[in-house]
């Protein structure tokens, strides 16, 4: 290879394209001033050309974005370095010291979902935080930090007792763990919280992986279909049992609490898990049409039956005081969420971007009360108070306030970051954030059970998506509450529940004269509708219907099929 070719190759990998000529004369006073200003403050939104930073379809950067001195150094010190360093300390902290590092290494070597996925986590930050500046960069990054820390806690807890990593030994802790389906909320276990450890089985091996590195999940989907299971049910359910088909689940608990999640597709998950796990399993179905008072009674009974199952299997008693303590802690998280919604709905000063809002909310409300969520909320509260006090507009190029409705594409949860950078679409709130909106009363046992039952019924994909048309059509109320003028309507192609109501929405959008963009996807499977196709759909709508110009034209059309 000639020197020139080597130089070009290196430039192609590491350097951005040279600035367009003809705008500012090089060496002139104005150009120096402009260069100094761009260096210090970062380029204005319209000049950033973020699409030029990507290397081919890999999603890697020739170089990470220069956001101005303050924000670049914040990103480097307080996001990149801070998170890499804290990942190491979290691995030690949650793994019980240096032996945690050994368990982590063993788990990384044993499980594809671990080794292939989670080490790429800083790119997850990059994708979600592209183009962000000031308080919204900081607030959103803290949300990511919370999710990373809790993810590490969960896999370290699993690895510490995993029979597959420890020669089949059933440790004392193994005997005190409860495995449960990822949509069975952590709040169900508050009455046992100090004596038993509840860990959702699929949340880390499946759900979080799709957001961080969407390559991994495809193996599990294919594995499910390889044993003859149909390919048209929800690919989330397919991935969840694919983990079992490939024997890629950690064996960290003697029992399993499972659920039908949100749809009948996942009934198969529960049945197959029962077969593969071969251990005591309690199936706690969540009702679909949950407004019926008789359904309430049934759901409460199911929760009590679940508690009895735990008492029988582990020989421990449900502790009412313990339940109250953690339910009240969780109420503090819900109260702060309401404060955040208030700022998001009524001001332009909200320091959390669309993807951080969506992922953090669904993660902690599903996971249940943990110290890390309180810690993160305190950081975010300070940032939010300051932003509101100083009236800092966090997304100043907002052209439309968007509400995203129905279930989101897991492999492209950061579409809203792209949509803001390219089109000024500010995704203020999304449906998943609005679920689990339930305080847990602790004044009487009856009230507690009633509220817990409601909480369980307001689980992801249930509260609105399959809870009945009166719930799914609450979109109009939320649009008004959050002052939104546009809807991004997710169209999960393999969700039989939501597909059934497609036409109703079409009619209502027309009748109400609402700008709505339908975004088809297949939840975790990027092969059905690629990210590029999703962008094209939004681009087409913005150009042909809205007649708008992109803020950053380099983001209109780029390849990222092979990216994480």
């Amino acid at each position: 290879m000639k020197m020139g070719e080597i130089r070009d190759k290196v430039r192609g990998k590491f350097a951005g394209k040279p600035a367009k000529e003809g705008t500012v004369k090089i060496g002139s006073k104005r150009s120096l001033k402009k260069v100094a200003s761009d260096f210090w403050y970062g380029k204005p939104h319209e000049e950033r050309r973020l699409g030029d930073l990507y290397i081919g379809d890999t999603g890697l950067y020739k170089h990470r974005e220069w956001r101005g001195v303050v924000d670049t150094m914040y990103y480097f010190n307080m996001i990149w370095l801070y998170n890499y360093a804290h990942m190491v300390t979290d691995i030690m902290k949650y793994g019980g010291g240096p032996k945690g590092v050994i368990n982590f290494a063993k788990g990384t070597w044993r499980y594809r979902w671990m080794g292939q996925t989670y080490l790429t986590v800083m790119h997850w930050f990059d994708r979600g935080l592209e183009g962000m500046r000031g308080p919204i960069l900081r607030g959103s990054a803290w949300h990511y930090r919370g999710m990373v820390s809790e993810t590490i806690r969960q896999f370290q807890e699993m690895f510490a007792c995993d029979k597959k990593l420890h020669g089949g030994i059933e440790s004392e802790q193994w005997k005190h763990n409860i495995a449960h389906n990822e949509t069975v909320s952590g709040s169900i276990f508050y009455g046992f919280h100090d004596v038993l450890e509840d860990i959702p089985l699929e949340m880390i091996p499946y759900f979080v992986t799709c957001h961080v590195n969407n390559h991994t999940v495809l193996h599990y989907i294919d594995a499910a279909q390889s044993i003859g299971l149909p390919s048209d049910p929800c690919p989330m359910c397919q991935a969840e049992y694919g983990i079992f088909v490939l024997d890629d689940y950690p064996d960290f608990a003697p029992t399993m609490i499972t659920s039908n999640e949100a749809c009948d597709g996942s009934v198969a998950t529960s049945v197959l898990q029962d077969w593969f796990l071969n251990r005591p399993l309690f199936a706690m179905p969540q009702p679909m049409r949950y407004d019926d008072p008789l359904v309430q009674k049934h759901c409460q009974k199911e929760i009590e039956e679940c508690w009895k199952f735990i008492e029988k299997q582990y020989g421990v008693k449900f502790d009412w005081d313990m339940y109250c303590k953690y339910a009240e802690e969780q109420n503090k998280l819900t109260a702060f969420e309401h404060e955040k919604w208030d700022v998001a709905a009524n001001t332009p000063y909200y320091p959390i971007n669309g993807v951080a809002q969506a992922l953090y909310r669904i993660y902690y409300s599903q996971d249940g009360n943990r110290p890390i969520w309180h810690e993160i909320d305190e950081y975010v509260r300070k940032i939010m108070n300051k932003t509101v006090r100083n009236q800092i507009v966090t997304l100043p190029k907002t052209r439309h306030r968007v509400i995203a409705w129905s279930c989101a594409p897991l492999y492209y949860s950061n579409w809203c970051t792209w949509a803001y950078n390219c089109w000024g679409l500010n995704c203020v709130i999304n449906m998943d954030s609005l679920m689990f909106d339930q305080f847990l009363r602790t004044d009487t046992y009856e009230h507690a059970l009633e509220d817990l039952s409601w909480y369980n019924e307001k689980a992801p994909m249930r509260a609105m998506a399959v809870g009945g048309h009166e719930h799914i059509l609450s979109l109009w109320d939320y649009m008004e509450k959050f002052n939104c003028d546009m809807v991004v309507m997710y169209d999960q192609l393999q969700c039989k529940g939501m597909q059934g109501i497609h036409g109703v929405f079409e009619d209502e959008f027309r009748k109400r004269d609402i700008h709505a963009i339908w975004v088809p996807h297949a939840l975790p499977d990027k092969r059905t509708v690629s990210r590029k196709e999703i962008r094209k759909i939004i681009n087409d709508y913005m150009i042909t219907v809205m007649r708008e110009e992109p803020l950053d034209p380099t983001l209109l059309d780029f390849e990222d099929d092979s990216s994480w």
Binding site: K13, F14, T58, L60, Y61, K62, H63, R64, F76, W80, L81, W109, R112, G115, Q116, L119, T120, M122, H123, D126, H215, H219, I227, F244, V245, L246, D247, D248, P254, T255, D274, W275, F276, N278, R279, P280, Q313, Y314, W564
Partner: protein, 65 residues
């Protein structure tokens, strides 16, 4: 003593600058994408796995006993 402190500051400064270069040019991402992930994928692909589908349908038992 002063020399040692200056040396230490110099070394830490170099490490900090080196980390910034890794950060700015996304060298961590490039390493993980081009080297680490393909290596791990090969490892997982050839890993021997238990055939869970061979689990008999009727072997359900209470493992806590």
């Amino acid at each position: 003593m002063k020399n040692i402190i200056l040396k230490l500051i110099g070394i830490l400064g170099l490490i900090y600058a080196g980390l910034f270069v890794i950060f700015f040019f996304d060298l961590d991402g490039k390493f993980l994408y081009y080297v680490f992930e393909p290596f791990m994928v090969k490892h997982y692909d050839k890993m021997e796995r238990k055939d869970n589908t061979a689990t008999p349908y009727d072997m359900k038992e209470d493992v806590m006993k």
